[in-house]
C-alpha cells in the first residue's frame, strides 16, 4: 500500500462522519489520456480503476478472459468497438481516492485521434501522454503532446510505459526524456512530469513497486492526487456570459450564468456587453441564499443596481475588458467529413450566443507531424489550421491561451447542424480596419463609374440591394 491510499478503508476503522467531512472538501481533477492501444493505455486505465477501486466487481467479471482480468476490456465500451477491438470515441471514467475525485477522458490513439483528443483535452486540467519505452519516442507522441498543448492543458504526465520490456533500464528512460524535452519546450508545454512505469506489472501506477529504485518521484496516482491544478481563472478578470434572464415577477430581474473567470461581490462595478452600459452588482443570488462573494466556475444569478438592457448571449465583465471583434483569427480543429468551405454558411457558438459566421480564408494548415505551417484553402476532417472567421455581430472574447471559456467556440454547419469544428481564438484580425478600408476603396472605385454619385438609401436592406447590384457588376 503506497501513500496514495484508496477509497477502501477497512470496516473496523471506518468512521462515516470523518469520511463525510473529508469528502466535503475533496476537490475534482479532470484529466485526459492520449496514447494508442499499443502503448498499453487501456491497461493503464484499467489498472488505475482497478487498483483505485473505481471499477466495480460485476464490471470486472465481464472483463475476465481466460481466467485473467483483461484491463483493456474495462474501458472498451461499445459493441462496435468490442467487435473491432479498438476504441473509437472518447469515453469518460470516474474514480476517486480519499483526496480527490477524478474525471478521466479516455481518448483513442489512432482512429480519428485529433478530433477525439481535442474533445477529451478541452475540459482537462492534466494530460497523460503515454508512450512505449520499447518503441521509444514516436511521431504520435509528439502529435499528442502538441494537441494537448494547443488545447491549453496546464499539466502533463509523460508516462513512459512498458519499462518491464526494457528491463527497467534507467538509460532507456533518460534517453526518451532527453529526446522529448526539447520538443515540449519548443511547443510551449507548461508543467510536465516524466514518469517511468509498467501498467502491466503495476510499477509506479498506484504503488511504487521494487523494480526501479533509481526513480524517486511519486507514482502516478500519488502525483494525480497532489498536483496543483495551476488554475488561475479565479485571479483573472471577471467574465460571465448571461445564459438566461430570471424574471419571476416585476420585483426581480436577475442574470443567470456560470462564472467563466474571476470573482464578483455586491458593490462591484460591472460592464454589460455589447451595450457597454455600466452598473453595480446588487446581489449574488443562489438557491442556498445570497453570497458575499462568488468565483469561477460557480453558477449564480446577479442582480444589478440599475435597470439596463441585458439578454441571453450578453457578457457581464469587470476589470480588464474583453476584446471585441467581428473578424478574428483562430486555430481550428476540423471535425466534419465535409471539409471547411469558405463559401458555406456556418454558425459560431461562443459562450451563450450563436451567431451567423463565415470563414474568411484559411491562413495556413498546421502539419501536426512536423509542426510546419503549410498553405491551404480548406481543412479536412482531423486537420488543424489557423483560419480567419467573420461573424455577423461582434464577439467579446479573451485569447484562448488566457481564458479557455471566453476564448473557445464551435462552428456549426447551418445545413446539417453538425458540429463542424472547434476554434481557439488567437486575436482580432490584425489591421482589419486598414484591410477593410483598402478593400472598400477598391470595390467602390471598381463598382461606381468615374464621376458618378453613389446614392445609398437610408434603409439598410435597400442600401444592401444597391451595393449587391454594384458588386455583381464587379464580380462577374
Amino acid at each position: 500500500m503506497s501513500a496514495a491510499s484508496v477509497e477502501q478503508p477497512s470496516p473496523q476503522s471506518f468512521d462515516i462522519d470523518q469520511f463525510l467531512a473529508a469528502e466535503e472538501s475533496k476537490g475534482l481533477l479532470r484529466l485526459t489520456t492520449a496514447g494508442s492501444v499499443d502503448d498499453g493505455k487501456s491497461t493503464l486505465i484499467g489498472r488505475l480503476l482497478h487498483d483505485a477501486k473505481g471499477a466495480y466487481e460485476d464490471q470486472l467479471k465481464s472483463a475476465v478472459r481466460a481466467g485473467q482480468i483483461d484491463f483493456s476490456l474495462l474501458t472498451d465500451g461499445l459493441r462496435a468497438e468490442r467487435e473491432q477491438g479498438i476504441t473509437i470515441d472518447v469515453a469518460y471514467r470516474y474514480f476517486a481516492t480519499i483526496k480527490r475525485k477524478f474525471i478521466l477522458a479516455d481518448t483513442p490513439g489512432h482512429e480519428q485521434y485529433t478530433r477525439n483528443m481535442a474533445t477529451g483535452a478541452s475540459t482537462a486540467e492534466l494530460a497523460i501522454i503515454l508512450l512505449d519505452a520499447h518503441r521509444g519516442l514516436t511521431t504520435q507522441s509528439r502529435r499528442h503532446a502538441f494537441i494537448a498543448t494547443l488545447l491549453a492543458i496546464p499539466n502533463f504526465v509523460i508516462a513512459v510505459n512498458k519499462m518491464d520490456l526494457v528491463g527497467y533500464d534507467q538509460e532507456v528512460f533518460n534517453r526518451i526524456r532527453a529526446e522529448f524535452e526539447p520538443f515540449l519546450e519548443r511547443i510551449g508545454t507548461k508543467n510536465y512530469y516524466f514518469l517511468p512505469l509498467s501498467a502491466l506489472k503495476g510499477d509506479n501506477v498506484v504503488d511504487r513497486g521494487s523494480h526501479m529504485p533509481w526513480f524517486d518521484g511519486p507514482p502516478l496516482l500519488e502525483y494525480l492526487e497532489t498536483v496543483e491544478p495551476a488554475d488561475n481563472m479565479i485571479e483573472a478578470s471577471f467574465r460571465m456570459a448571461v445564459q438566461r434572464v430570471v424574471r419571476p415577477d416585476q420585483n426581480f430581474r436577475g442574470y443567470a450564468g456560470q462564472i467563466a473567470s474571476g470573482t464578483i461581490q455586491p458593490g462591484d462595478e460591472i460592464q454589460a456587453l455589447p451595450s457597454g452600459r455600466r452598473s453595480k452588482v446588487k446581489r449574488v443570488v443562489t438557491f442556498d441564499g445570497d453570497l458575499e462573494m462568488a468565483h469561477a466556475p460557480m453558477s449564480v444569478t446577479l442582480t444589478l443596481a440599475d435597470e439596463i438592457d441585458i439578454s441571453r448571449g450578453d457578457m457581464i465583465s469587470s476589470g480588464t475588458p474583453p476584446k471585441s471583434a467581428r473578424i478574428f483569427d483562430a486555430t481550428m480543429v476540423w471535425f466534419d467529413a465535409h471539409p471547411l468551405d469558405p463559401a458555406h454558411d456556418y454558425l459560431v457558438k461562443h459562450t451563450s450566443h450563436t451567431i451567423p459566421a463565415r470563414v474568411d480564408g484559411v491562413r495556413h494548415l498546421v502539419n501536426v507531424a512536423t509542426l510546419e505551417s503549410e498553405p491551404a484553402t480548406s481543412l479536412a476532417m482531423n486537420e488543424i489550421g489557423v483560419v480567419r472567421i467573420a461573424t455577423a455581430k461582434p464577439l467579446f472574447f479573451d485569447p484562448y491561451q488566457e481564458n479557455r471559456v471566453t476564448g473557445s467556440f464551435i462552428l456549426i454547419d447551418r445545413k446539417t447542424n453538425h458540429t463542424a469544428g472547434a476554434g481557439m481564438i488567437l486575436a482580432e484580425a490584425e489591421g482589419s480596419l486598414e484591410d477593410a478600408a483598402d478593400r472598400l476603396v477598391r470595390l467602390v472605385r471598381a463598382a461606381v463609374p468615374e464621376g458618378a454619385r453613389l446614392n445609398l438609401p437610408s434603409d439598410d436592406a435597400q442600401a444592401m440591394e444597391v451595393i449587391r447590384g454594384l458588386l455583381k457588376g464587379v464580380l462577374k
Binding site: 471506518f14 476537490g27 474501458t75 461499445l78 462496435a80 453558477s299 444569478t301
Partner: protein, 300 residues
C-alpha cells in the same frame, strides 16, 4: 481563495447545462423516474432558476408496474414543489396484456418503457428531454454525450455523435429531431448519495433498509408489494432486512440485504460494497451489450 469541492463543481456544471437547455429549446421536458438521480436532477433544476419556478414540466413514463411507495412519493414530491407533472403509460400495450411475466423483460421494457417514452415525447412535441443517466452506470453510457442527438425516430447512433468540447453544447435540431440531455453525466453513484445527504433531498423510503417480506429467488430478493408479483416455484417467503439500491419496476428490481437505514449508513455501505448498483437489475443482463441495444432503439 479555495477551489470548489467536487460536489460544488458538479453542481455548477449541471446548472449550466440545465439553463442552456431551458434557454435554447422550444419545448424541453424533464424525464422523472422517481429514483434518487431524478430527485437530484429536480433539485438542480430548482437551483438553476431560483427564485423563478422550474420552466418545464416533469414527465413520468409509468409502466404501471412500479412500487406503490414510488407512486405515493412521486405525487407528494411533485405537489410540494408545485411543478407540473405529466404521467404517460402505453395504454394500448397494457390493454393488449403487456407484462414482464408473459413477454420477458426485454420485450416488456421495449413496449412499456421505450415505446411509451417515444410516444410521450412525440405527443408533447418535446425537442429536448432531460434524463438522469450517469456515465459511470454502465459501459455503453461512458461514451454518451451530455447533449445526445436523436433522429426523428428517437434513435441513437453511437457512431454519429456530435463532438462535445468545453461547456459549449450544440442543441440545433430540425423539426421531429430531438436532444436527450444528461446533466448528471459526470456524477457517480457516490456523488449522488453524498449530494442527497448534504442537501437533504427527499428520496423514496424503499432506499432505506427495514424488515420486509420478500420472495427469496436464488440470489434475488423480490419484494411482493404489488398483487401482480406472484411467487414462482422454489421461491421462499422470508422476512429480510433489506433495501433497494436502484428503483425500477416492482417485478424486475430486487432488493439487497442491508442494515443501512440512514444516509450515512448507505454511504458507508457504498464504500464497502464493491458491486455496482446495476447488478440487481435483471434487464441489463439480458445479453451482452443489452443496454447499448436499448439505447439505440430510444431507451434512456
Amino acid at each position: 481563495m479555495s477551489r470548489l469541492s467536487h460536489l460544488q463543481a458538479l453542481e455548477a456544471e449541471s446548472i449550466h447545462i440545465i439553463r442552456e437547455v431551458a434557454s435554447e429549446f422550444q419545448r424541453p421536458v424533464m424525464l422523472y423516474s422517481i429514483g434518487k438521480d431524478s430527485s437530484v436532477m429536480v433539485r438542480l433544476a430548482q437551483k438553476a432558476f431560483h427564485p423563478g419556478p422550474i420552466p418545464f414540466p416533469l414527465l413520468h413514463v409509468d409502466t404501471t408496474y412500479k412500487f406503490k411507495e414510488m407512486i405515493e412519493f412521486r405525487d407528494r414530491f411533485t405537489a410540494e414543489l408545485g411543478v407540473k407533472l405529466i404521467v404517460h403509460s402505453n395504454t394500448s400495450a397494457l390493454e393488449a396484456g403487456a407484462n414482464p411475466f408473459r413477454l420477458g423483460t426485454e420485450r416488456c421494457c421495449g413496449l412499456l418503457k421505450t415505446q411509451s417514452l417515444l410516444d410521450a415525447l412525440r405527443a408533447g412535441s418535446y425537442d429536448a428531454a432531460f434524463g438522469g443517466a450517469r456515465r459511470d452506470e454502465e459501459k455503453s453510457r461512458a461514451k454518451e454525450r451530455i447533449f445526445s442527438f436523436r433522429d426523428s425516430l428517437g434513435q441513437w447512433d453511437p457512431k454519429n455523435q456530435r463532438p462535445e468540447l468545453w461547456n459549449i453544447f450544440n442543441g440545433r435540431v430540425e423539426p421531429g429531431e430531438s436532444i436527450r440531455v444528461f446533466p448528471l453525466s459526470n456524477w457517480t453513484e457516490m456523488d449522488v448519495w453524498q449530494y442527497i445527504h448534504v442537501e437533504n433531498i427527499p428520496i423514496v423510503p424503499l432506499y432505506f433498509a427495514k424488515d420486509r417480506q420478500v420472495l427469496v429467488r436464488g440470489n434475488s430478493l423480490i419484494v411482493p408489494e404489488q398483487d401482480f408479483v406472484k411467487p414462482q416455484l422454489g421461491d421462499k417467503l422470508e422476512t429480510v432486512r433489506c433495501r433497494m439500491r436502484s428503483l425500477g419496476c416492482s417485478p424486475c428490481t430486487g432488493a439487497v440485504r442491508s442494515d443501512a437505514d440512514t444516509l450515512p449508513k448507505i454511504i458507508a455501505e457504498l464504500v464497502a460494497v464493491r458491486n455496482s448498483e446495476r447488478e440487481n437489475r435483471v434487464i441489463d443482463h439480458d445479453r451482452e451489450g443489452s443496454m447499448e441495444l436499448k439505447k439505440r432503439e430510444g431507451y434512456f
